[in-house]
């Protein structure tokens, strides 16, 4: 298997290119997409229920969950669902998100990234440094949120730690939540701004042109693999 050491294009099992026109490229399989959307729905529900308890101006959002008591009950359980769905997803993707030298070049040319001048950027594998940042940032923040969240889950762990620990946990939870919401906004925005990206998570495929433009090294690898092994 050529996928278990991380090749430069970071192609993963299931990634494949189909000749066109138009050329399409498989980017995410059905299970990965399912996991992504379970995680995404959980995150949105957590955002709504969490913000309701974060500031009185948004307390009305508890109405979406059937009142304050229900919001307080559901929020931690949704967090548990997100934790598991995210980490299944994590183990599907982490190898392709390992940092490499190209990421530093990409980051130093962030102006060209934002300006859409991709001709000035190095050819990229399956993920660019921004996507990797979201991936590892989400990973770290979700770990912080689940750990601090368990400590302040009053119904089951209310008495497990000292009040000082719980105060630290509740502050940490709030700060981590703010950061993950910003990261979530960045993630959604990048997916919309980079046209043609959303279909990777809906249909599972992107166009050949999208892959050529944004992840050329990955596309070259898939095309090369196809020449070697045209079966499939």
């Amino acid at each position: 298997m050529s996928q278990d050491v991380i090749p430069a294009g970071s192609a993963q099992p299931g990634d494949a290119v189909h000749p066109g026109p138009p050329v399409t490229v498989n980017r995410y399989g059905p299970l990965q997409r399912l996991n992504h959307w379970i995680t995404a729905s959980s995150l949105i529900l957590l955002l709504l229920s969490g913000m309701a308890l974060f500031t009185p101006e948004l307390f009305f959002l508890t109405g979406l969950f059937g009142g304050g008591q229900n919001t307080r009950t559901f929020h931690p359980w949704i967090g548990v669902i997100l934790f598991f769905s995210f980490f299944i997803f994590f183990f599907q993707l982490w190898k392709a998100n390992l940092p490499e030298r190209t990421d530093w070049i990409w980051l130093t040319r962030i102006k060209d990234v934002v300006g859409g001048h991709e001709e000035n950027l190095p050819e990229l594998g399956k993920y660019n440094a921004g996507q990797k940042f979201i991936f590892w940032g989400m990973t770290g923040l979700i770990l912080v949120l689940i750990a601090s969240g368990l400590l302040i889950w009053d119904q089951y762990f209310g008495e497990a730690t000292s009040i000082l620990i719980r105060r630290i946990a509740v502050l940490t939870h709030a700060i981590a939540a703010v950061l993950i919401i910003c990261m979530f906004i960045l993630h959604v925005y990048a997916g919309i701004w980079t046209r043609g990206t959303l279909r990777a998570m809906t249909r599972g495929t992107v166009t050949g042109g999208w892959a050529w433009r944004h992840h050329r090294k990955w596309l070259r690898q898939l095309a090369g693999r196809r020449k070697v092994d045209p079966a499939e």
Binding site: P7, G20, V178, G209
Partner: protein, 336 residues
């Protein structure tokens, strides 16, 4: 129901009225309401009340606990003897007040002193529970100083537990709401003092206006000083703006010897940061991120795939020549 309004109580020892009286304070007297931006504006200022607990007069009989259970109709259950006097072993959602016992050897006299402190809500002027509470109107403060939990608004999150400098509120595992001493707000409203003060056989617990209680405390402190307790004093901690439950301590210089009564209680800086800066900076940052991306989305140029990109992809897949990869400083060597 009689239209006559009960007077504000100035003592706990008076007998109850023989006919029904209208409550002398209520919603219109709220001065703070949890998770509410615009503070309620009370139409009048009630005379601040206070409960004074003179630990030097306490005999540890627990009549206050019994009276509390009786009046509030709670059921702490039958406990287990683990060799200490506290019963139950801690405050619970069914036990709003608890006698805490400490055996303390006075280093100056080598005498064993049995310190008994009636623990319970201190009714802070600056209540940490109210500050921490996310549920509108679940914790309120009246102009007479009583801090009360309005249970139908409580969501059971336990934030009040983190906010309280005295570790008082307890969350029920049955109805998932927070409970603590109410200073018998329902008794005070009809002119009666708190049940614990009423039941106390030595009047170690007394109740009245805060001013009267301070005067009474001053007399007690003078008396204690004349008996050799040079450090006798009043516990009305300024860090929480003073409290509406105060102690006369014979060793007021070290409150912590009385079962860890905080020396300088205040709302934890962690709670202040959580409810202050984190909230405002957090909302600003999240708002900026959301608005920024919407504005950039509307006015910025989207990153679109060009026709040329699609053509190159087609050529690549068909094996026709395409622009080669640029010279890289050093090729990736990890590829297998």
């Amino acid at each position: 129901m009689s239209g006559t309004m009960a007077e504000q109580p100035r003592t706990a020892v008076s007998n109850p009225p023989v006919r029904a009286l209208a409550a002398n304070f209520g919603e219109q007297d709220m001065m703070r309401r949890s998770a509410t931006r615009s503070e309620p504006v009370p139409t009048r200022q009630l005379t601040p009340v206070a409960k004074l607990i003179d630990v030097s007069k306490c005999i540890g009989c627990k009549a206050c606990q019994s009276a509390c259970i009786e009046w509030n109709d709670t059921d702490p259950g039958v406990g287990v003897n683990v060799g200490v006097y506290e019963n139950p072993h801690d405050l619970t959602d069914q036990m709003y007040t608890l006698m805490r016992f400490t055996e303390w050897v006075n280093p100056e006299t080598s005498n064993l002193e049995w310190l008994i402190r009636k623990d319970g809500c201190m009714h802070c002027a600056d209540p940490g529970c109210l500050k921490a509470c996310p549920a509108p109107g679940a914790i309120v403060q009246y102009t007479n100083g009583i801090v009360d939990f309005i249970h139908e608004n409580c969501i059971g999150c336990g934030y009040c537990v983190k906010g309280c400098p005295f570790n008082i509120p307890r969350i029920s595992q049955t109805d998932h709401r927070a409970y603590k001493c109410t200073l018998c707000s329902d008794r005070v409203a009809v002119g009666q003092g708190p049940a614990c003060a009423k039941a106390c056989p030595t009047q170690a617990i007394v109740f009245g206006t805060k001013e009267d209680m301070k005067k009474h405390a001053a007399e007690r402190i003078t008396d204690l000083k004349s008996r050799g307790f040079a450090n006798a004093g009043l516990y009305d901690p300024p860090g929480v703006g003073g409290t509406h439950v105060m102690y006369v301590l014979h060793h007021a210089d070290k409150p912590n010897i009385y079962s860890d009564l905080p020396d300088n209680p205040r709302i934890s800086p962690l709670v202040e940061t959580w409810k202050g800066m984190t909230k405002y900076v957090g909302l600003a940052v999240m708002g900026f991120a959301a608005v920024g991306s919407i504005v950039h989305g509307i006015f910025g140029r989207a990153n679109r795939v060009a026709r040329e990109d699609e053509e190159n992809a087609e050529k690549l897949v068909e094996g026709r020549p395409v622009p080669p990869p640029p010279e890289e400083p050093a090729p990736e060597t990890r590829a297998g």
